[in-house]
Amino acid sequence: MGNSEKLHISLTELPKNFQEVHPALSDREAVEEANRCLYCYDAPCIQACPTGIDIPTFIKKIASGNIKGSAKTIMTANPVGASCARVCPTEELCEGACVLNHSTKPIMIGDLQRYATDWAIKNDQVLFQKGQSNGKSVAIVGGGPAGLSAARELSLLGYDVTIFEASPTAGGLNTYGIVSFRLPQKISYWEVDQVKSLDVKIRTNTAVGKDVSADELLNSFDHVVLAAGMGRVPDLGIDGEDLDGVYDAIEFVKDTKTKPLSNRLVGKNVVVIGAGNTAIDGATCSVRLGAGNVKILYRRTQEEMSAYDFEYEFAKQDGVEFRWLTQPIKIHGDENGRVKAIECIKMELGEPGADGRRRPVPVEGSNFILPVDAVIKAIGQTRHQSLIDLFRLEHIDGVVQISEDYRTSNPKVFACGDITFGKGKSEAMVVTAAQQGKKAAYAIHSHYMEETVTA
């Protein structure tokens, strides 16, 4: 049975497949759920939210009919709270900590958060106002969750903030990287507009290091916040990678969010390499583009995969097949330079490596060939090493090193978000990037306050 039959994927009207899958709560559902929340004191759900949203308060406000106040409570703590309502792994965060896990079932915090922020979006609410100017200026490199969050807090504190953003629109991966059927672009745009409404200047289509130099920023601003995230998907380092039909998962998803949807994958066989959330997104996008069969190939096992459980479940519901302990070694092309098959080798798990995970080793002679029409690479993200070098910052393998207060080796430069995210089993998250953005802003401000006191 093909994916399309299972999922009611339309092969003729692809845009339908990219509409948000998870339905919004109705007014009644929201009120009933809000009234189920216990309004705990010193609530564990707050502790479990990386941005510390006052969850009982925002839920109480839904119950009392003060939806604007609810949205404001959310957005105060989390400048990308509308996106987070949709993309946070809530089972691992707030909802996982809800006390009702021990008695009935946890409150649907993410859905309620979406309900309140959707209301604010629908009603065109502007929730914040710029603080009294303090005459200091900050340049922010990158307008993703981390950069926007730092910009919002700095502007509230009275700083004159300019975001330099390489893409045509800010929002970072919220705008371009997370699939539309989980996070429609308009949500990210609204969050960008909220930041803009605080007089934050956003210079889009402006790549630092290309369109404007690092030194220029260092010379013309009091502080710089580096929030450029991570880069594209790295090469697999195998033959055939430049064939037509091999995609970078992030670019692949981005195309579905920015261009008319192509029907080139309809009925085709697709493999995705990797098993993080990006791989899942690449695979589920392929299903929605009408692919006949989608397989995820991963050189380790389900144990080691870094995608969240709910993402894994979501992909399985979509009919995505998983091939564990499978490593691609060569992509074969046809006479026109198009992908026609992928050659793999079976693996087995050996001794644990430096990261504690058991290292996969090839099983001699187990090569096999899968006929495929497209290969999507999703084995992580490269680092912005050259940008980091332009600012002459200390880093380890492209991960900017920061002190506890988000300062880099250059005291003028702070860094937050994915650009500081080290390797490990856990996945980078929008919500942590947002929290780090806030913290970087507070760090800048506390340095400023110290200076003004001692001066």
Binding site: S26, D27, R28, N35, Y39, Y41, T57, K60, K61, A63, S64, G65, N66, K68, G69, K72
Partner: protein, 428 residues
């Protein structure tokens, strides 16, 4: 940001949210915490000759799994020495000069007792006095609280005594355990009250245990009636506030309470004539922090409506509250079912069929799908179906044009009286 400041008979407050005289205002520690959380004022737990309280004092009524739909207590007035309370009132007022502290008082019905306590509490700087003529249990058996609050002459006389001595505004707190609250409200006004507040708690017994056959709550196997409050009493309180507000004989401001749990309830009380609201049960259920949403929600409501000051809403619904005899007998609404929203639970049908006017038909369309339809000519517009309907928007109550001009019962009686032939019916 709307102006939330209020003024009750000269007692100013940063916002309309006061804690009612009850356990939340038992001590300086608590009242100061409440002010930090944002409460505009507090009516101190009733002062008087300290009494003894029993253990096991409260019980609540759950409704379909929601806790504290109603709250029942057998607690009396303060059990702490007067000197201690006075000292703490003084300190609280000193720390929070802009917040309102009102002393609630209850003494035996003797002129000199009232004079003495008024003098003592005013010395420590309270902004006003509230006379507790409402506590329905314990104190009443000693001739105080609702025992004196149910007798208009006693209300008037004691208010008068207090006014003889008081420098600050006097609020008389009324008991709802009376047939017509305007009788005691008027008595308070005659006695010189600057304001009235209502309601105190309603005589109640929360429940009986099915196994032990003990009352709920019980004190070592024995129970006594208590006072009921919380969300369940709001409609009773709202009516009493409305009745007093619309009475031409009662011209003093009202402090409203009884079931106020959020900003929406507060708006209702104020529209019905209250100059501010007092809260007890909601704070006991959730803590002082609930006031943050009360303030925020009220402010957003006023901003959205373009109303500059909360005082502008006081009493705005009072002219709309009248006697049955003034309602238009020819005004007509009917139920209309939106079948695209309806989930076919048939609750409206059975409610109408069994207990109202048998006018919702269960039908089938050409495809055999069930749908419901109201026979509008038989519908009396009672609202029952829309009340039991579980889905928002499935039943609309819509106004239909009347064949007759507006005609109230009073108009009708007057018309009949003026006609020679008393059997003529002007409606037909």
């Amino acid at each position: 940001m709307a102006d939330l400041r209020t003024n009750l008979a000269g007692i100013e407050s940063p916002n309309p949210f006061w804690l009612a005289s009850a356990p939340p205002t038992n001590s300086g520690y608590q009242v100061q915490r409440a002010f930090e959380a944002g409460w505009g004022g507090a009516v101190w737990k009733t002062l008087g000759d300290p009494i003894l309280n029993v253990s096991s004092r409260f019980a609540a009524v759950s409704f379909n799994g929601q806790r504290v739909a109603g709250f029942n207590n057998i607690e009396l007035i303060t059990d702490r020495p007067l000197e201690v309370n006075l000292q703490e009132i003084y300190e609280t007022k000193k720390r929070f000069p802009n917040h309102t502290v009102v002393a609630s008082l209850m003494v035996e019905p003797q002129q000199e007792k009232w004079h003495e306590i008024v003098k003592r509490v005013e010395e420590v700087g309270v902004d006003g006095l509230e006379l507790n003529f409402g506590c329905p249990h314990g104190m009443a058996e000693r001739g105080m609280g609702s025992a004196s609050g149910q007798v208009p002459e006693l209300v008037e006389k004691q208010t008068y005594w207090v006014k003889e001595a008081a420098q600050t505004p006097v609020i008389v707190k009324l008991t709802p355990n009376i047939t017509d609250i305007t009788a005691t409200a008027e008595a308070a006004a005659r006695g010189g009250a600057d304001a009235i507040s209502m309601i105190n708690t309603i005589n109640s017994l929360a429940g009986v245990d099915l196994d032990s056959w003990n009352t709920i709550p019980h004190v070592g196997g024995k129970g006594a009636h208590g006072g009921y409050c919380g969300p369940a009493v709001k409609p009773i309180a709202l009516n009493m506030v409305g009745e007093c507000a619309r009475s031409p004989r009662i011209n003093v401001p009202i402090s409203g309470m009884g079931g106020v749990s959020n900003w929406q309830n507060a708006v209702e009380f104020m529209l019905m004539g209250a100059s501010n609201v007092q809260v007890c049960t909601a704070a006991m259920h959730h803590g002082f922090r609930i006031v943050e949403d009360m303030i925020d929600g009220l402010n957003n409501y006023l901003d959205e409506k373009g109303i500059a000051s909360v005082q502008d809403i006081i009493g705005k619904s009072v002219p709309k509250y009248s006697d049955w005899g003034n309602l238009d007998l020819n005004y007509k609404i009917v139920a209309r079912i939106n079948n695209d929203v309806c989930i076919n639970c048939n609750k409206c049908h059975i409610a109408c069929e069994d207990t109202s006017h048998q006018c919702i038909d269960m039908l089938k369309d050409d495809q055999g799908n069930s749908y419901l339809e109201v026979r509008e000519e038989d519908c009396v517009g009672c609202n029952l179906c829309s009340i039991v309907c579980p889905v928002d928007g499935a039943i609309d109550m819509v106004e239909v044009e009347s064949e007759h001009p507006p005609m109230t019962w009073n108009d009708r009686q007057a018309a009949i009286g003026s006609l020679q032939n008393p059997s003529a019916d002007p409606i037909k």
